[in-house]
């Protein structure tokens, strides 16, 4: 446990300067946006727009989280400046992986949520004092689908963690490209399967669109309802099985890198 805390502390020392810049950017952005909005509302007579925090939270969560997660792994696994130190750190590979994964998947979203709340309080108070604006503090639980957002974040970030351990350079772009290719390939396979199914059931002369138009609407709706009832299985797959599999694969990749590339 002591080593694990030391690893978390190490990550914090390495990243705190960048985090401070990131936090300042968020604060400046909110302050600037709210000021402009207040001025526009006061002098142009437009109605006061809804608060910005909830609208921007998903973007900061995903974009910031992905960048941070990729940097957390790539900098120690593939950057010459850190490789040697990371390799010789007296900690197990499991501890090294878990500390990084925990920071990217749990600590970051929690910290970002708290930071958004604090920032909104500060900015809103300032806006109230300067412009007497109504106060609209960021409430994550009022945000529609906050928990689902976190679940999606966990899935996506697990994918990028794997990408950061697999690709030596430009992991962010390469992971996004690789994911796109996988999605396209899966779609192509699904299309091919559907095409074959239609051909077998209805003969080769009928097009896929025509075949779909001939599907009995009642039966189609029933099918859609059946698929909807698989939600639990789908959610389990998307938010538990796949992310865990990705994280486990990323851990083994880290072990492999520590045994080969890092030397």
């Amino acid at each position: 446990m002591k080593r694990f805390i030391a690893l978390l502390r190490r990550e914090w020392i390495v990243a705190r300067r960048d985090m401070a810049i990131y936090a300042s950017v968020i604060l400046a952005l909110f302050f600037g946006y709210e000021t402009l909005q207040s001025i526009t509302t006061r002098y142009a007579g437009t109605s006061f727009a809804t608060e910005v925090y909830g609208a921007l939270f998903p973007s900061f969560l995903f974009v910031g989280g992905i960048i941070i997660a990729v940097d957390l792994f790539a900098s120690d696994l593939y950057k010459k400046d850190n490789q040697h130190t990371f390799l010789m750190l007296p900690a197990t590979n499991g501890e090294k992986f878990l500390s990084k994964s925990l920071l990217a998947t749990v600590v970051y979203p929690v910290a970002l949520t708290l930071y958004f709340v604090v920032t909104s309080v500060v900015v809103e108070l300032l806006m109230y004092l300067i412009f007497s604006n109504p106060i609209g503090i960021f409430n994550p639980f009022a945000l529609s689908g906050y928990w689902m957002l976190l679940a999606r974040y966990w899935s996506i970030i697990s994918l990028f963690i794997l990408g950061a351990t697999v690709f030596r350079k430009s992991a962010l772009v390469k992971t996004a490209l690789a994911f796109t290719i996988v999605v396209l390939l899966t779609t192509a396979v699904a299309y091919l399967f559907l095409r074959l199914f239609v051909t077998i059931r209805m003969g080769g002369r009928i097009s896929l669109l025509e075949a779909l138009s001939r599907v009995d609407q009642r039966r189609f709706d029933e099918l859609v309802e059946t698929i909807k009832s698989w939600k639990v299985a789908r959610d389990l797959l998307n938010y538990l099985i796949i992310p865990v599999a990705l994280q486990i694969t990323a851990y083994f990749r880290l072990c492999e890198v520590e045994a080969t590339d890092a030397v």
């Binding site: 002591k2 080593r3 805390i5 030391a6 502390r9 190490r10 020392i13 390495v14 010459k80 400046d81 850190n82 040697h84 130190t85 390799l87 010789m88 750190l89 007296p90 900690a91 197990t92 590979n93 501890e95 520590e258 045994a259 890092a262 030397v263």
Partner: protein, 276 residues
């Protein structure tokens, strides 16, 4: 006095390519010594050091350091090994950040001792580590390693890049940091820098350890004698020097002569493929 075994290498084989670098390499390291690891370019000195600290894995044979297999890289072993490699980029941070980042991993790290070594090396600890010169970085890591409390300090060409006063400081500090619980393995080509420091000597040649002994075993038995005429073929070793030849003779057979230096010892052993 016999000290506990720090490392034991038995029939170790390793290769980067088809051609093996080490084949059935065997030797052991005892605690409380400053080992000098010598060898020609490409003999595998750096590779051997990396094998000892678990950065490379042997293809055959056994290797144990403090009774553990370094390839497992267990934290219990890693915190006993400090490896100062020949190339070592340092992160863009201050010394205090670096220390607070790494010292929690080394339970026996002594901050006072670190400050003492840093002062001895005249290091400016307010400077960013990445802005330090090569020599300063080396001295910084050396101070860190010596203060870390690690029992095995492995150094690859530690005096490369050090200025002349720093080389002297290095020798003094390593000698003062030496204890029975501590072992140094220093790989070097700069034998003159290290002559007064390293003993025993391990010489690697053609994938084998051809010498692993204390120097006094040789210096007590042999001397170098300067002769003006070319020696005949049956001398133990001869070397052309200004104004004649230096000839290796048994101490009893020589009329005076001078003590063997490390460079000559290395040349003799490599030429003979072992002890004369």
């Amino acid at each position: 006095m016999q000290y506990p075994l720090v490392a034991e290498v038995t029939d170790l084989s390793f290769s980067y390519t088809q051609k093996p670098l080490f084949k059935e390499l065997s030797f052991s390291l005892e605690g409380g010594n400053i080992y000098g690891l010598l060898g020609k370019n490409g003999a595998g000195k750096s590779t051997l050091l990396k094998l000892l600290c678990g950065q490379l894995f042997a293809s055959a044979g056994s290797l144990s350091v403090f009774g553990e297999n370094p390839r497992c890289r267990r934290p219990s072993l890693l915190r006993e090994i400090f490896y100062l490699s020949e190339e070592f980029p340092l992160p863009r941070m201050t010394s205090s950040q670096y220390l607070s980042m790494l010292t929690p991993f080394y339970e026996r790290f002594d901050h006072e001792r670190f400050a003492h070594y840093a002062a001895e090396f005249s290091l400016d600890l307010t400077q960013r580590l990445s802005q330090m010169s090569l020599g300063e970085k080396k001295k910084y890591l050396l101070a860190f390693g010596l203060a870390s409390g690690c029992s095995l300090l492995i150094m690859d060409e530690p005096t490369n890049g050090l200025d002349i006063p720093s080389k002297r400081q290095f020798r003094q500090i390593v000698a003062s940091a030496m204890s029975e619980e501590r072992t140094f393995v220093i790989s070097t080509h700069q034998v003159r820098d290290m002559e007064a420091l390293i003993d025993p000597i391990i010489i690697l040649d053609q994938g084998k350890v051809i010498f692993n002994e204390r120097l006094d075993a040789l210096t007590d038995a042999y001397v170098l004698e300067h002769v003006s005429t070319e020696p005949d073929g049956d001398v133990l070793y001869s070397e052309k020097v200004l104004g004649g030849w230096m000839v290796l003779k048994k101490r009893g057979d020589a009329l005076g002569g001078q003590a063997l230096d490390l460079e000559t010892i290395f040349n003799i052993i490599v030429e003979k493929g072992g002890r004369p």
